[in-house]
């Protein structure tokens, strides 16, 4: 026996160590750590290492900052000039985008559409990695003492990074989106197709569960869908680089993340996401026509106007918005034109409407204020008479939900808040709309 043990001592020790570790593995697989729970040995190890990592990384940062701040000023003047030029360009873009955003917020408010906003973030420094290719977790220098909790989103200005999986007092662990155990609700920006972005062992990210009969083109942007309840909707995720038919009727869509996940230094941890209605108070007047205009197809806006400023008979055939008209297209009478900046006016009682931009079905020309419909109106939708000013001349601000519902019911119930801009009710004004031509609306 002694001879046997002595002869195979090395192999026996090897087998014993391997057996112990396999048993330990089996125990971990059978009883995995609960969500957010950390094994004590890991807590000790990471708590021991974190101060060293912080010290090294921060001293490196300090040296780098010192160098870049005091020594490396070459080229700053030129860079400053370029940045100013870029800022100018961006200001112009900003003006256009702001206007679009205002309009989008108005519509969202009208539709009672709740949006998620990144309310507060904490900047954190990446101080470590897992050190292996099989696991891609990152370590941040902020932990529970800084208010970080598991399942918080981690982002950069260029795109999402991952989510917090474990939190220690002074550090936390991030599971990046390219880890094989990661999954993010994502959508294609243009086609709005939704899927799940998953990582792989080799660090590649693929968008899964998109049917193979869908058309996805390389180059399309991928954004968060908000379906995972971790990332707010609309954050950039990456870009499609290749699309191949996958197994099980799904496409295999390869995505390159927007964030440089292999070169991360500073990240933002989203500590609070607020879900609220878009604030449309300061976005100008809300008009029933705006709501409906968003729901209807747009139409050509060119209309011939004669010398007197009146629309030619044949030119204003689309917007048969009248309270007295009969036989019009069911939608023709609805006040659903896209808001236009044309000088649409409502003529005085009995006059003809001048409507340079009345090609939309149920256009609502006029700047004269609210046009009351006659209760006896026949043949058209009640909203047909909601002739709101199309040039913001009569700002009537109404609560979004109210406006939405009123638009669908009847416009006369809208409550003007600025009496100055509202014209006095005119008993004949309901007839001062464009006379019906009987022509169907041009959709």
């Amino acid at each position: 026996m002694d001879t046997f043990l002595g002869r195979y001592k090395n192999l026996i020790v090897l087998a014993a160590i391997l057996f112990a570790q396999i048993v330990a593995l089996a125990v971990q697989v059978r009883r995995p750590a609960q969500e957010g729970e950390t094994r004590l040995i890991r807590l000790w190890a990471i708590s021991t290492v974190t101060p060293i990592e912080k010290a090294v990384v921060h001293s490196q940062e300090w040296v780098q900052d010192t160098w870049t701040t005091y020594a490396y000023l070459r080229g700053v003047r030129r860079e400053n000039r370029e940045l100013r030029a870029e800022l100018g360009r961006m200001k112009i873009d900003d003006a256009r985008i702001s206007e679009d955003a205002r309009m989008a917020r108005r519509v969202q408010a009208l539709l009672a559409f709740k949006e998620q906003y990144v309310d507060s973030t904490i900047a954190a420094q990446v101080i470590g990695t897992s050190g292996s290719e099989q696991s891609r977790v990152l370590y941040l220098d902020k932990g529970s003492n800084d208010g970080i909790t598991p399942d918080m989103a981690v982002i950069t200005p260029t795109g999402i990074v991952g989510k917090i999986v474990q939190v220690f007092p002074d550090s936390s662990q991030v599971l990046p989106i390219n880890d094989q155990f990661s999954g993010v609700g994502a959508a294609l920006k243009d086609s709005r197709l939704q899927g799940i972005l998953k990582g792989a062992a080799n660090g590649a990210t693929t968008l899964q569960y998109i049917m193979s009969d869908e058309k996805v083109v390389p180059g399309e942007e991928v954004i968060t869908s908000g379906g995972d309840r971790i990332f707010p909707k609309g954050l950039p995720v990456g870009r499609v680089v290749s699309v191949e038919p996958g197994k099980d009727l799904f496409l295999n869509i390869r995505v390159v993340p927007s964030s440089r996940l292999d070169q991360l230094e500073e990240v933002l941890v989203v500590t609070k996401i607020t879900e609220k209605m878009p604030d449309a108070k300061d976005l100008g007047p809300l008009r029933a026509s705006d709501i409906l205009a968003e729901r209807l197809p747009t139409v050509p806006s060119k209309t011939e106007v004669d010398a007197a400023g009146n629309a030619k008979p044949g030119a204003a055939t689309a917007g048969s918005a009248t309270g007295t008209g009969t036989g019009a297209h069911p939608t023709a009478g609805t006040a659903a034109s896209k808001p236009v900046n044309g000088a649409a006016t409502i003529n005085k009682p009995g006059g003809a409407a001048t409507a340079p931009h009345t090609a939309a079905p149920g256009s609502t020309p006029g700047t004269g204020g609210v046009v009351k419909p006659k209760p006896t109106t026949t043949g058209t939708h009640p909203a047909a008479t909601t002739a709101r000013p199309s040039n913001s001349a009569a700002p009537v601000t109404t609560a979004p939900s109210q406006v939405g519902s009123q638009a669908n019911r009847s416009a006369p119930t809208t409550t003007p808040k600025h009496p100055k801009t509202e014209s006095a009710p005119n008993p004949n004004s309901d007839q001062s709309t464009i006379p019906p031509t009987g022509a169907p609306p041009q959709l």
């Binding site: 090395n10 090897l14 396999i22 089996a26 990695t129 897992s130 290719e133 977790v137 062992a201 080799n202």
Partner: protein, 180 residues
């Protein structure tokens, strides 16, 4: 002229070459720890470093230098478990432990048989052991834990080459800690 073929008598090295080295306790404790630390936070700055497996190289170095399979097993086991600690919550403790235990055993067993001081043999040893290391890890992950790892020969070959090249310099540096 005729040449005599000498029968193989167990060792390919001369007696002088199979000398066993000792290390100070400080070196035994701190060299693996520093290797793991470097492995953890250097990839934040250096993009390609995850390919280089410093704890693996240190395991081979200690195992081949001490030429004791039992100490090789234990060294590999401890370094691997330390590496496991930092690999994230979804990575069970023991995966690297098992892989490096096997490598420690094999390296120390082979160290008894062949010359491991030569850069050429170190290169080949490291290359071969890296492939074995990846194979054992893949076997554990795929066979025991049913993880969906993908085996890529090209990736393993390139990683093994990189580790073998870096290993020559790492071993040369670590030779300073040897004590006869």
């Amino acid at each position: 002229m005729s040449s005599r073929v000498m029968p193989f008598r167990g060792s390919l090295t001369s007696r002088e070459q199979v000398s066993v080295y000792e290390f100070s306790w400080a070196a035994i404790i701190f060299v693996p720890l520093i290797a793991v630390l470097i492995q953890i936070f250097i990839p934040v700055r250096v993009r390609f470093l995850p390919i280089i497996d410093l704890p693996f190289l240190v395991t081979i170095f200690f195992a081949t230098a001490r030429r004791n399979p039992i100490s090789g097993c234990i060294t590999g086991c401890l370094i691997g478990l330390t590496q496991d600690l930092f690999a994230g919550p979804s990575h069970p403790l023991g995966m690297y432990g098992i892989a490096l235990t096997v490598i420690g055993y094999l390296a120390s067993s082979l160290g008894l048989k062949i010359d491991v001081e030569n850069p050429g043999s170190r290169f080949l040893l490291t290359y071969a052991f890296f492939v074995i290391h990846q194979g054992v890890y893949y076997g554990v992950a795929h066979g025991l834990l049913r993880e969906g790892l993908q085996w890529s020969w090209s990736h393993v070959a390139i990683s093994a080459l990189a580790n073998a090249v870096i290993g020559i310099f790492v071993f040369k540096f670590l030779d300073r800690f040897k004590q006869r």
